[in-house]
Each structure stands twice: as structure tokens, then as C-alpha cells.
Symmetry: C2
Subunit: 274 residues, 2 copies
């Protein structure tokens, strides 16, 4: 990256790949394609993830492994291997570790080691609940990025994130504004904003015009793509996981995943042009 900051790098790769699509890797053993189920579990997960990446790379800008699926299967060695493999074969794609970590000082240092050294991530998702000093060990890694949870796509996201603060912003808006104005001095912070709430993405974009957005909730979760793209404006990655990964459980699983990825990429670019 030659000293370039993560946020600019993220935007550059969207232009270079002509894609704002992030393919989420949530390998669920029970849903893997039939032809893969004969291997042992870890080999199966590895073949599945590599097969999805190969099939969708032409349409994607980023891949986002969800570490929980690997942890649930004791498949950390597979995730390590995937990180090395992606950085070797797909150097112009982002490798985003979805981990939603959040801890202090020496513990956060260990999580930074986990994300950036062990799994080769370009960026990692984090929770903002513990504040700036829980982010610092990640921000000390030059060129690396952090996507902070801001407005999540689930129903329970309302419980804290929609609380109105006494200065007139809701909590998720406070996170967006603080990230933009106080925490992003080095160009390393982005925000997670769910597509199930496009009006709130618009609000986030007003408060945080310079931050990249990672947007889950399109695909299986049913968010409105056109409204989402209009609200996000620029420098955004729209994530789809299940709708691509499990497009077919038969021998055509790679072709089906490629078709879903291409359809979504095209739809994103058309929405952008409207």
C-alpha cells in the first residue's frame, strides 16, 4: 500500500474492481453443497471457501470471513490458510475479518495480532462500546482498517443504537459523528451500517461523509438495494453471504454463486448510475 491509508485503498479497490460487492464467508456445515460433503469437515470448509472465492472474485471487491463459523468448527487453521491463499492469489481484493471484537489495552493488542498477523486481514470489524482506547492497538497498525459497528441490521439493534441522547443524536449517530470527527485522524476507520435501514444509512452518511461503509443486510436479510446505494453514495461495500454461498446445494454451486454475485454487482452498479 506504500503508506496509503486504508480508507483510500478501500475506495481505490472498488474503482479498480468496478465493484462494491463484498462476499461474506459464513461456512455452515449443514448447508454446504452436496458434492463437498464427503470430505472431512475442515477440508470441506476449505474447499468450499476457496471455491466460492474463485467463482465470485471477478464480481467482488472484498471477501469477509465470519470468524464465528470457523471458531464453532475449531477451523482456525483453515482460516489461517485461507488468509495466506487470498493474499497470494487475490492481492487486489480486500480480506475483511468479521470478528466484532472489543477489549482494552494488552487484550486488544492480542486481538490485533489475531486479525492482522494470524489471519492476514486488511481490516477487522470491532464493537465501539468500550471506546477509543479499545481501537488504538488496531489503529497503530499502519495501512490496516477497522469497521466499527454503528447501525446493525438486526431487530435488537434498536435496543441501544436507537436510544436518543440528550444532545439530540441517537447513539448510532453519535458513533458515526465521533468516528468521523475524532477517531479517524489516520484514515483507518469505517462503519458498519445495515441495509435494512436505508434512512439511517443516509443519516450516517451526512454525519460521516468521509468514512467507508460496510453494509450487510442485502440478500437473505431483504434490504432495499437502490435506497441503500443512494444513501451510501460512495466508498461502500455491500455484503451478501447466504444468498451467494448457498445459491445451489448441487454440483453447480460455483456457477450459481457466480451468477448471484454477478447479478448483485450489476444491480449495485446500476443503482449507482441512477
Amino acid at each position: 500500500m506504500n503508506g496509503m491509508n486504508f480508507n483510500q485503498h478501500c475506495l481505490d479497490l472498488q474503482l479498480q474492481n468496478q465493484s462494491g460487492l463484498c462476499v461474506g464467508l459464513d461456512p455452515d456445515l449443514a448447508r454446504l453443497p452436496e458434492p463437498l460433503r464427503h470430505d472431512n469437515a475442515l477440508a470441506c470448509v476449505e474447499r468450499f471457501c476457496k471455491g466460492i472465492i474463485e467463482a465470485t472474485a471477478s464480481y467482488a471487491c472484498a471477501f469477509k470471513p465470519q470468524i464465528a463459523y470457523f471458531a464453532g468448527l475449531a477451523a482456525e487453521p483453515v482460516l489461517e490458510d485461507l488468509g495466506r491463499w487470498v493474499k497470494t492469489h487475490y492481492p487486489n481484493h480486500l480480506w475483511l475479518l468479521d470478528a466484532k471484537r472489543g477489549d482494552i489495552g494488552a487484550t486488544a493488542e492480542q486481538y490485533a495480532t489475531e486479525a492482522f498477523d494470524r489471519y492476514q486481514a486488511d481490516a477487522v470489524t470491532l464493537s465501539p462500546y468500550m471506546g477509543l482506547d479499545s481501537l488504538t492497538p488496531f489503529l497503530n497498525r499502519e495501512g490496516k482498517g477497522v469497521f466499527l459497528l454503528c447501525r446493525t441490521s438486526n431487530k435488537g439493534g434498536d435496543d441501544l443504537q436507537m436510544q436518543m441522547l440528550n444532545h439530540g443524536l441517537r447513539l448510532f449517530e453519535h458513533v458515526a459523528l465521533t468516528a468521523e470527527q475524532q477517531w479517524n485522524s489516520t484514515g483507518q476507520i469505517g462503519l458498519v451500517a445495515g441495509a435494512t435501514y436505508p434512512n439511517e444509512i443516509a443519516s450516517i452518511r451526512r454525519l460521516a461523509p468521509s468514512l467507508p461503509l460496510l453494509i450487510p443486510g442485502i440478500g437473505a436479510q431483504g434490504g432495499d438495494l437502490l435506497a441503500t446505494v443512494k444513501a451510501a453514495q460512495t466508498n461502500f461495500l455491500i455484503n451478501a453471504s447466504r444468498s451467494i454461498l448457498y445459491a445451489s446445494a448441487k454440483s453447480d454451486w460455483q456457477q450459481a454463486a457466480a451468477r448471484e454475485a454477478q447479478t448483485l454487482q450489476t444491480a449495485i452498479e446500476e443503482a449507482r448510475a441512477q
Copy 2:
């Protein structure tokens, strides 16, 4: 546990062990005792953690491995083994996985598998930022517990947790009240409340009289023990990690850890009696 809920079980074990002490397991390779440093790293971490547990079990009610330290070292197999070993040899101590996870639906299910099945945890720390539905997969495990981050002991904890909401509570107080009144119907939820802020522990206790508290910040972080115990009142675990783990780097490391644990346990009981 014969159907007993976690919160009651947590209190019962404090009485049975005559201890409110939780020993945190944060194995930092650079600080391990000199006599252990000749093994390979993972064997060394395992010997260290077992040695600390053996030395301090008489004074402790709970052990709390911090998963980040294991993840940073690719030492998940050690943590799995420790979980099995503790549940076999110390069935009357709590095994609390400090992971601060927080995610939705199917992903949270994977994290529940990680904590409860893979690592044998009795309870796990979670972030409340994504709301109730991010807790549900954990609460569906009968007898298991969850400690939600409420007021953390670090400086950056102020950034979100101290925000005043327009209904007159600060965010951490809203978490405490919501956990007590809406989320704890099955007696499985506790709160993390840092000892660096005893006045805020008192506020949490007023809003959440029935929830167990997990209190870091005593020891290396310098919280006021007497004020903390008075504020927490009952059903609390006071965690100390570094002050016990690294009490000596020489061949007397187990004796030094035992001494520190005993001193702290005694001080907690004396504070309770005042």
C-alpha cells in the same frame, strides 16, 4: 446444576467457596515465569495456566480465561484442554470465558457453540451493542450465563457508556436497567462493572439489584476494593489477573500467586464484613 439458573448457581458457589475472587487467565508469553520459558510456547502456556489454577483454587470462586491471549498465540487447543481439565478437577469453580462477543442469529449460535461446547464455559462475556436478539442463542442454553458489558474499567469506556440519554439515564445505566427488567427473565444475565468507578457500581446495583456483577479493575488497574465491595453488596466476582499471574517471575511463581490470591480473598471478605 439440576435446572438451577446460572445467577443462583453463581451466588451459591461464592458462599460455598467463601470467596468472591475470580482469577483472570491472561497468559502473556513475555511475562511468564522464568522456569517455564524453556518449553515450547503452547506447552508453557498450558503449564502456567494449570499451575495458577492449582495454586489459587483454594482462594477463588471462578477462573476467567481471556480468549484473546489464546487466539493471539494460536493456542485454542490449550484452551479446549484447560476447559475439560477445570470441569473435571474443579467442578465447584466457575469457568468464565472472557470473549466479549456480540453478533446476530446464526453467527451468535456459532459463538455459543465456541463458548459452551468447545471451551466448556459456564458463562461468557458479551457486548450489549447489538441488543437482545444477539443474546438469545446464549440464553437458550439452560444453566449457562452471560455477563454483559455495562460499565468498563478503561478510560475510553466513557465515550459511549457515559452518554446521557434523553430519559435521564446514562447508557450504561440503561443497559443495567434493561438487563434487569427485560432481559433477565431466566436468571442467566450478569453485568461487567469496572472497579475503577465504584460510584457507578452503586448506581448499577440500584438499577439491577438481582444481577451478579463481574468486576475487573482491582489489582493492576488500582480500583478501591472497600468502596467496590460496599457498592456491589452481594453476588459479585472481583477479578484480578496480572497482579496474581505475574506476582513472581521466579521459581516461587505459584507460591507468590497463591499469596496474592489469598490476600485479595481475605481483603474482599473483610470489606464485606465492614
